[in-house]
Structures are given as C-alpha cells and as structure tokens.
C-alpha cells in the first residue's frame, strides 16, 4: 500500500464558523472531545499505510503548525517521506497573503512539491472532514475500476453548506456534477479524491495555463464526460464542518453509540495528540449522563447530553445540558448552560445562565469570561 500519497487541504474558504475559526482554520477545530478535525484525514491516510502526506496550509495556520508538529503522533515523522507542511509562501514568488480561489490554485502554488511525490497515486482530502474511511479499500477499488478519478461520496441524509453533489450510473460512473443546489439531490461529495500523480500534475498544469482554479468546476464538471469519474459511496458517518450548526449537529451525533463505534472503530484508530491530564473525577454529588467526557475534568455538578474536552471543570450545582465545552472551560457554581459551544479556556461565572437553542447554538469565544 505504498503506492498512495496523501494531500490534505487546510485553508480558509468557508466562513460560517463564526468565533470558532477566529483563531484557527477549520481543519484545526476541536471535535469529539479530544480531536482536531485534521486528525481524521491524517489517521484515515495513515491507517491505509500511507507514509507521505503533504498538508497545504493557508490562513490562520499557527494552531495547525502547533498541532501537526513533526507528525510524530501519526508516525509521519520519517527520514524519507513523512509529513510535509506547505505554507503559502512556498508558492510563486510574490503570492503574499491572498487566499486561494480553489484547490487547483492551491495545488499550483505547491507545484514543485508535486514533483517530489514518490508514489504513483494521490489521495486528496479536506482537513475539515470528520470521517473514518477505509482508504485502503477505496484505493483498491480505484485501481480495479480503472477510473481516472475516484470521488468519495457520502450517503446520509445530511446536507452541507455549499456542497457538491453527484449522480452516477449503475457501474458507478459519475454522470452529473452539481453544486449551488437549493434542494440537494444525488450523492454528497466528501471532497476526497484518488487519482494518479501524473494525472494530477497534468490537470494542475492545464488548468493553471488557462487561469482555471476550481477543481469542481474546471476539472470535475467540465471534464465529466471526457474523464472516467468513479463514485465510491461511503454509507457511514461523514461530517463536513462548514457552519456552527453543522458543527453542533455533527458533534451531538457522537452521543449515538453506533456512530461512535463507526467513527472510532479500533480497526482504524483515530490518532490524536495526548494531553497531560490526570483522570477525570466525578464528585459524590456529580451527575454525568449521555455524555462524552475527556480526561482531566472535574464534575461536581450535572452534565447531560454534552461533550466535554480535557480539563473542563463543572462546579457544584452547575447544570450543563446539550453543550460542547472545549479544553479548560470552567463552569462555576450554580451556573446553567444549554446549547452552548464554549471555546478554549472560557469561564462561566457563578449563577449565570446561558441558553442557546438546538437550531442556534451559541458560541462563546476563546478565553472569554461570561
């Protein structure tokens, strides 16, 4: 399985995440109690035996750099190959801080890196996709199908903002590529693609020469008849995180044991950085049910239907319902929270009450004191 190379895109382009992406890119958003979104793409690749991964960065990527380090967590700290972080200034000379207009433009910016890829095939993934794909199997199917490009699609009821949708024939060949749909139909594209390294370079060069920058418009849609585009349908959990609402709804789905079992299957473990925290302690009067709780928390109050990241403190009498609390959130005595997403290091003072709604969860910005 050494024939596959990974490229992960982590750049700002969707901006409905409000305060959550104020200080980070979508790919480094915390998810599921201890992960960053990009942990999923990285683990998906590594679990399929991929040894070389490039991460194309743009925008607020300090937290991403900190998070990735040398890639040791994913065993991508290697003498040959391994993790390659590709910040934007690597591009043509005076690129500056302009965001990319599309994937092609981003790839064109790292064109010389594409030449160094040792593998014959490339998997493209987005850093903000939360999924546990059997990439080895998908790669095998790609090889068998003889497709030019394999497009991985989801098959669940979730729509996503600004999604791409596909129609396919019985053989799996894609017949239509649609976007900007008011009522989505067909298979939701997960923005995961497999194609040969040669073809990728050819597409990037061709498009760049014509000042085309959009992967879905200028490659997938425009060339859907010329190229054999194959649809791989993934029936499991697959969350694209494009808005606060999607973030919240997808997080809450993790309280479903079946979805957890699927996303965290021990066969393909999702690897993440550790936290130097002690065990979580639930006090004698604490109550914590139907919740996903990371290490290092102290729960003396009540927690229901919530997700707690490491080091959250819930003091006596506090009540947390339907919340997602990031690292080091402190909820003081008798405070009451529902439908709240609290970013890192937020403090809720005693006796305060904050309530959002399931259709409009409230985001508390990093380090705020409420």
């Amino acid at each position: 399985m050494n024939g596959l190379h990974g490229i992960i895109f982590s750049y700002e382009k969707r901006n409905n995440l409000r305060e959550l992406t104020e200080i980070r890119s979508a790919a480094s958003i915390p998810f599921g109690g201890r992960y960053r979104a990009v942990d999923f793409a990285l683990s998906n690749l590594v679990n399929a035996g991929v040894t070389d991964v490039g991460v194309v960065l743009h925008g607020r990527y300090q937290s991403m750099l900190d998070h990735l380090g040398t890639g040791k967590v994913w065993d991508l700290s290697r003498k040959r190959g391994g993790l390659r972080v590709l910040p934007p200034f690597n591009y043509q000379k005076d690129w500056g801080a302009m965001p990319f207009r599309g994937k092609i433009e981003a790839l064109s910016g790292v064109r010389s890196y594409l030449n160094t890829i040792r593998q014959d095939y490339v998997a493209l993934m987005d850093g903000d996709l939360v999924v546990n794909l059997p990439m080895a199997e998908i790669f095998e199917e790609h090889l068998k199908s003889g497709a030019d490009i394999t497009v991985v699609c989801g098959d669940d009821s979730f729509a996503t903002e600004d999604g791409t949708y596909y129609e396919k024939d019985e053989s799996g060949r894609i017949t239509e590529v649609l976007y900007n749909l008011h009522s989505p139909r067909g298979y939701r594209g997960l923005e995961v693609y497999i194609l040969s390294t040669e073809l990728l370079k050819e597409l990037v060069d061709d498009c760049t020469a014509k000042d085309q920058y959009s992967w879905r418009r200028d490659v997938l849609r425009a060339q859907r008849e010329k190229r054999n585009l194959h649809c791989y349908v993934w029936g499991g959990f697959a969350a694209q995180i494009r808005s606060v609402q999607e973030y919240y709804d997808r997080s809450m789905q993790l309280l479903d044991p079946e979805i957890r079992a699927e996303l965290f299957t021990p066969e393909r473990p999702i690897r993440a950085k550790g936290a130097d925290k002690s065990s979580t302690y639930v006090g004698a009067e604490g109550r914590c049910v139907n919740s996903l709780v990371a290490e290092g928390c102290r729960i003396e109050g009540t927690v229901e239907n919530s997700i707690l990241f490491p080091g959250v403190v819930v003091e006596e009498g506090a009540v947390i319902r339907n919340c997602v609390l990031f690292k080091e959130t402190t909820v003081r005595r008798n405070a009451r929270l529902s439908y709240i997403i609290a970013d890192k290091n937020v403090e809720i003072l005693a006796d305060r009450t904050l309530m959002g709604h399931s259709t409009y969860p409230i985001v508390l910005a990093k380090s705020s004191k409420v």
Partner: protein
Amino acid sequence: MKKECVAMLLAGGQGSRLYVLTGEMAKPAVPFGGKYRIIDFPLSNCSNSGIDTVGVLTQYRPLELNSYIGSGQPWDLDGSTGGVHILPPYMDSKGGTWYKGTANAIYQNIGFVDYYEPDYVVILSGDHIYKMDYSKMVARHKESGAACTISVMEVPWEEAPRFGIMSVNEDDMITEFAEKPKAPKSNLASMGIYVFSWKTLRQYLTEDEADPTSENDFGKNVIPAMLENGEKMAAYRFAGYWKDVGTLESLWDANMDMLSPESGLDLHDESWPVYARSVNAPPTFLGTGSRVAHSAFNRGSILDGDVQNSVLASNVRVGKGARISYSVLLPGTVVEENAVVEYAILGEDCRIGVGCRVGGAPEDTAPSPWGLTVLAPHCRLPDGKQVRPGIMLDRNGEEVSK
C-alpha cells in the same frame, strides 16, 4: 558529558507482594490511578526537579517497562545528553551476574554513572507514589555538606516500628539508624530516597562489594557502614503525600486516596504534572442509565452501570445494571451487565461475566475474615460466577493464596 546530578531508579524487584498483578510485569509497570503506572511518579519527579539523566535498574520481566519508557519522551527525558536509560544486568569478559541487592545493582553500573561524572547521585525506588522536588533535597545535601542525605517523614509513633527510623540532632543530622525498631527513639521514617556524593558512594559500593558477608543492600549494609564510619549524614524532611505501594492493600489505598484531595494526593496540580505515556482512545462515554459518583476514569471507556468510589483505567466497559464500588479496574477490564464488583482490584483485560459477584464490603462479610478480591490480568469469569472477599485468582481463574 558532565551532569551535576544523576538519578538511579531501583526498579528491579519482582514485587512479589503484589502477587498476581506482577506475574507478567515488573512492579513499577503496574497501572495506577486510572492513567499512570507507578514509575510515572519518580520519573515525573526527576523531570520536574530538573534531573535529566536517569538510570532505571531492572532485571525482572522488563519488556513491558522497556516499551512503556521507550525514548523517555512523555517525561521530557529524551534530551540528547542524558535521558532515561534502562540498565539490565550484563555480561562482561568475566561473565555476568544478576543484581544481588540494591547496592550491587548500582555497583554493577558504576560505568554508567561515571560516564556523566556527577557530583551527586539520587537513589530512588520504583514503588512509591509521591510528588517531591529532588532539587530541594540536593540543595539540603549541598548545604549540610553531608556524604549522604536521606529523606524522612514523620509517621505516627505507633507505626514507627514498621519503618527504618532515623534519630537526628538539632541540625537534622542523622545520629542513629534503626531498621524496624521495637522501641523507636524517633518517629522519622526513611522514605528510601537517598542523595549521595558520588565519590563517597562509589568508594562504599566498592568496599561493600568486596565484603562477601554483605547483602549488598543500601538500608542493611551501605547506610549503616557510613554511619559507623562517622560520615556526615543529613535528614531531609518531607511533608507531603507519600505511599509505598508494595502491597495489594497499600496499592488499593493509594488509588482511593487519589479520589480525595484531602488525602494530599493531588494529581490535577499543573505546577507539578505527573506525566504518563497515554493510550490512544476516544473520550469516555457515560450512558443515559449510568451513575458515576466519587470516581475517576480515563479514556476509551463506556460506562452504562453504577460506579461508586472507584478508579477506572482506560478502555473499561461497565454494562447496564452492573455495580462497581470501592474497586480499582485496570486497563481494558470488562464488567458485563448486572455484575457486582466490590472492594476488588481487577487486572488488565479481565472480563467479569454477566451477573457475576466479585468481592464484598467488610461490613457484609463479618464475622468471616475480610480482604480485597484480586484478579490477575486476563482472568475471565464465566457468567454468574461468585468470587468471595479476600480471594485471589490467577489468569486461568484458579484460586491462589496471598
């Protein structure tokens, strides 16, 4: 590569008083507190005290310990000079010998210590739970001009006969040492943590080795010899939490202590973190019908039952209707539905079948004699099985005596 101070950690013992828990691993590798292993405490103390060079002396089933310690990265002990090194016995051109005693273990590794040309050597034990700043103890050693400094703590007078007891003068210099004295003259007990000036220790170790009658033990031979020769010996008073977890009961006690901050064992204190190599697993899920109180847990568990006054390690599963109380569950343990576990230590990857009853509370057992119930790692109890208080089972479920 000169270092002011090198630590040598005695991790060699089989830990036979932990019985079935150490059947397959060295004592310092035994899990503790839901997240740690015992050796995390001295290693984290070294790291936090600024001691970056640690030798770990071991000869008993070191595989688990070796792979746990690895490069030393979790404890920040992977610098390019120094770091943590496992030191098993080895052969040289004259053949090889196993470590005969604590002093002999250091003696056999004089070459290792000499390599760093240290002024001081800190001797640590691999079976104590405590947080201690060794740099303060070394500072006390330097100031006092002693050849050896022993850390001591006050124990209740009635417990003093169980310890090595130090008598000190007004400067806290040691005047007398009595191993488990019937009539103790002091209540300052040795904690088995020593700082030596390396030159002096090196000489005593060489002399001790040449003495065929010696048991080559620090407490029994080297310390008494130094005292007898009139070496300056300082006591260093320590006041925080400290526990020798060399027995099943004390290991259980220490686990219970971590649930109660008033015990003095605070593992949430960020100024003195206790590091550990962590397991990769998703956060723990507490089900709708779960009831977890006054308990600690770690990653990867799924808790659907009742958990009270217990410490759960990673990847534990507690089924619906199951009840765990006053127990310590080591990693990967599964307690199936409606099983009851009380006052027990369950080894790694144990499985307690549906409706089993393991252990019991002292109050329910009287007047029969009571004791902790202990299951060896990988022990699998069939559904409905009963295990009385005080029983210990090996990995095949056979009863063994404590």
